[in-house]
Amino acid sequence: MELAIFAGLALVAGGSALLVILQRHAVYSALFLIIAMGALAGIYILLAAYFVWVIQVIVYAGAIMVLFLFVIMLLDIGREQAPWAPPDRGRIVAALLLTLVLLVELGMAVAQRLVPQASTGPVVAGEFGTTRLVGRLLFTDFLFPFEITSIILLVAMVGAMVLAKRRLP
């Protein structure tokens, strides 16, 4: 049962992710990306990570994708008209390098899963995935990454503001 649901969700996620890059129209690409996000959220439910599921929907499906759509509509990006042309060499090299990094990371994750781990962290059975536990972990064990992330986001925000304001007279 669980496997069937997972297979369905994974198929939807993979399929819509493919359609994101195969669509000619930017709005449809964004819509398929939303479906992919939704399928991922479903997989989080299967993992009993309810907090992450709800945050995935609020942040990615509900906020970030709305902004994507907003920008696409504001700039009025229509259907791609130009015929397909082979990309230049620099792009191919960059794409291959990034793919390699992704594959290595994926391989490492799978390898880690195959080798049985001794410690699984301070996870309390039955409390896994609850808001209480996520919050406690975030402010104890993962406090440093949490704070660093917030600073990175702040820097990105200020950077965007500076870049946008420089164009103004």
């Binding site: 709005v27 709800v54 709305v66 907003f70 509509m73 504001l74």
Partner: protein, 342 residues
């Protein structure tokens, strides 16, 4: 097992039916109330005091011609109304509308009066509400009409801006209740406080979080596109905004979504700030419905009283007034809870 399924289905059917009926009759109540405020009669012809008007309106809308503009993006155009109405109804799945009941002794075991109670109830409602934007944005875009697109863009900007303040305005309540489950939040509001030792006051979060409630209510007005924040459908400048090109039942679905959203945010406000189903005597769902109706009355009162904001005023109010206040409220509550709370 079978009993649980039947009880669950019965609850879903009852809640869904009641919500549909409430949506239909909200239009009647709104027209009647605004008529009273403006010293008119309002609908009077269809049934006594126009009571059958919503049904007549529904039948009329169903038989209207269903137009699709030839230049519209067909699939998205057809999808948008359902994307708008489904989230509006789904949110009710986690709202507790009463204490557990045996239905006057008819049932063997007491049945809790909510469809489901999840650990992240409040967040679930915000998540579902944030998905409701897509209906409006996509309707605006797919109609291939300038007014529709402007309405859609306006509404997405407005909803994103006010969602933040709305989320932050309830943080105080969550801190005081120590839970995200709506049932736990209602239970945390049981009991009485004695103000100055003489005045009995229910321990509702309205009284410990007055600022939070005001912020929530302002954001709720904006989130449901109600006056004075009804810019996405500002009829004097945008014809009808995002639903200009829609007709027949598709138009009705947007209409129903707006009213269903109003009921949902009122029900959430009741649960978070007004003690949900809690009341001194009598059946608990009556108290819940009464409080929700009181808030809906406020919604209509606002619409009859206030003129529409200008777009820049709307953004200023959201970002420079509501958001900082909500942050201050959250931080102050957190400090209070750490220093004096348990």
């Amino acid at each position: 097992m079978l009993e649980t399924v039947i009880v669950m289905l019965a609850k879903i059917v009852v809640v869904f039916g009641a919500l549909l009926l409430a949506v239909a009759y909200m239009t009647w109540i709104e027209r009647k109330l605004i008529a009273d405020i403006q010293v008119r009669l309002g609908p009077m012809r269809v049934g006594p005091h126009g009571l059958l008007q919503p049904i007549a309106d529904g039948i009329k809308l169903m038989f209207k011609e269903d137009l699709i503009p030839s230049q519209a993006e067909r699939v998205v155009f057809l999808l948008a109304p359902s994307l708008s109405i489904v989230p509006a109804f789904i949110a009710f799945a986690v709202i507790p509308f009463g204490d557990s009941t045996t239905l006057f002794g008819l049932l063997a075991r007491p049945v809790p009066l909510y469809i489901t109670d999840i650990d992240v109830g409040v967040l679930f409602i915000f998540a579902v509400a944030s998905l409701g934007v897509y209906g409006i944005v996509l309707a605006g875009w797919s109609s291939n009409n300038k007014y529709s697109l402007l309405g859609g863009l306006r509404s997405s900007a407005q909803l994103i801006s006010y969602e933040l303040s709305m989320g932050l305005s309830v943080v105080g309540v969550l801190l005081l209740a120590g839970s995200l489950s709506l049932v736990d939040i209602v239970k945390a509001q049981a009991g009485l406080d004695w103000w100055g030792g003489i005045l009995p006051v229910p321990r509702w979060f309205l009284f410990s979080q007055p600022l939070g409630f005001c912020l929530y209510f302002c954001c709720a007005l904006a989130e449901t596109n109600r006056a004075p924040f009804d810019l996405p459908e500002a009829e004097t400048e945008l014809v009808a905004g995002f639903h200009t090109e829609y007709s027949s039942m598709k138009f009705a679905m947007f209409f129903m979504a707006e009213y269903a959203n109003m009921i949902t945010v009122s029900a959430l406000a009741t649960t978070l700030f007004l003690g949900g189903w809690l009341g001194p005597i009598g059946p608990s769902p009556v108290w819940f419905l009464g409080k929700v109706f009181l808030l809906l009355f406020l919604f209509i009162w606002f619409r009859a009283t206030l003129p529409r904001f200008r777009y820049d005023q709307l953004m200023q109010f959201g970002w420079k007034c509501l958001l900082p206040l909500a942050l201050v409220n959250a931080v102050a509550t957190a400090i209070f809870q750490v220093v004096w709370g348990g």
